[in-house]
């Protein structure tokens, strides 16, 4: 891939991924106990961890999304979102494998009626995009080989 096309790809990925995660965080900002119910429905986390975990998701998504979008610490933001998207994928795959009905709550709990397979597909795409963005961002800071 040429330098120019790599830069364009990075811009597109930053706009999409940053935008999606900022929107997802913003959509959940007013979800209180309903979002905790969504997290609990996955039956993965113990009760003591559910509320602190869900309280940290909104600032994390908005913060990391803003890093990716603005380009300030974009590598860090991309890695954070990659970890988060991978975590969502694993949780959704486990729920589907165990036959548990879950409401992902990814874009707020009022976004009802979503299909978990669609959610999983979307999260896989996001994870792949984050991985690609992290790779591009890492390459752009890699030291040049000595001559």
């Amino acid at each position: 891939m040429t330098g120019r096309s790599s830069r364009y790809l990075e811009w597109v990925l930053r706009l999409i991924i940053g935008g999606v995660f900022i929107y997802a965080g913003w959509a959940k900002r007013n979800d209180g106990i309903e979002f905790a119910d969504s997290v609990a429905s996955f039956r993965i986390l113990p009760s003591a961890v559910i509320v602190p975990f869900m309280l940290s998701i909104v600032p994390f998504e908005i913060g990391a999304g803003a890093m990716v979008l603005t380009g300030w610490q974009k590598r860090l933001g991309a890695l954070g979102l990659l970890i988060m998207a991978s975590m969502y994928c694993i949780a959704l795959a486990l729920a589907l494998a165990r036959g548990i009905t879950v409401n992902c709550g990814c874009f707020g709990t009022s976004a009802v009626g979503a299909n978990p397979w669609v959610d999983l597909g979307r999260d896989l795409l996001l994870a792949a995009g984050c991985a690609m963005l992290y790779r591009i961002a890492t390459r752009s800071v890699a030291p040049k080989p000595a001559v």
Binding site: G32, I33, E34, A36, D37, A40, S47, A48, I50, V51, P52, M54, L55, S56, I57, V58, P59, F60, G63, A64, Q73, R75, L76, L79, G80, I83, T101, S110, V112, T138, V141, A142, P143, P145, A146
Partner: protein, 196 residues
């Protein structure tokens, strides 16, 4: 000590490590992981601070909907202990005949925003989320109609709220409480009229 002779072939220059644990890329990754951990801790602290500043902060230890409903019930006067019980269920055909017959009280157990977006005609909102407050508001109507039958519904499908609200009403002394299991989705998918 080993010394290089002039006749020895020149040794190749050591290659820069590419992906090993000591490579620059691996160092970058480790730094990034530490950065992500710091971001996660900062997000947790921000989330806790925002929760603390809310008008009604969430308790830090999660309570299931059943536990929350039980806690709500204890705030009602002389409310007995909550126990999830099996209320009778009715089908869509049975329920259709009851809507608008003025002999049945229909209760929507979904949260208020969903009720406001649309509900079954004549339904009152007794949400599982805010049971005690809604019950106090509806108490005059409910107490005046103790002889009437009550049907509770929620979203439908796997929704559990109608059963919990029906159980709460049974424990509060209402006897003719039934659950329309088809719920809101069953009603709307059948193309039946709604009210906003």
């Amino acid at each position: 000590m080993e010394s290089a002779s002039l006749t020895d072939p020149p040794k190749p220059a050591p290659l820069a490590p590419v992906g090993g644990s000591g490579s620059p890329r691996s160092g970058t990754f480790t730094r990034d992981i530490v950065g992500v951990i710091c971001l996660a801790v900062a997000s947790l602290l921000t989330g806790l601070a925002i929760n603390h500043l809310r008008a009604a902060p969430l308790p830090l230890v999660y309570q299931t909907p059943e536990q929350r409903l039980a806690a709500e019930l204890t705030t009602l006067v002389e409310a007995p202990a909550f126990r999830l019980s099996d209320a009778d269920t009715i089908s869509l055909d049975q329920f259709r005949g009851m809507v608008g017959d003025h002999q049945t009280i229909i209760l929507d157990a979904r949260a208020a925003p969903f009720y406001q977006q649309g509900h079954i005609p004549g339904a009152l909102n007794l949400s599982r989320d805010d049971f005690a407050a809604d019950y106090r508001r509806l108490r005059p109507t409910l107490d005046a109609s103790k002889d009437k039958s009550i049907v509770v519904y929620c979203s439908g499908g796997d929704c559990h709220d109608s059963r919990m609200v029906a159980s709460a009403l049974l424990s509060l002394g209402f006897s003719q409480v039934r659950v329309f299991t088809g719920g809101w989705s069953g009603w709307t998918e059948a193309g039946l009229p709604i009210e906003k």
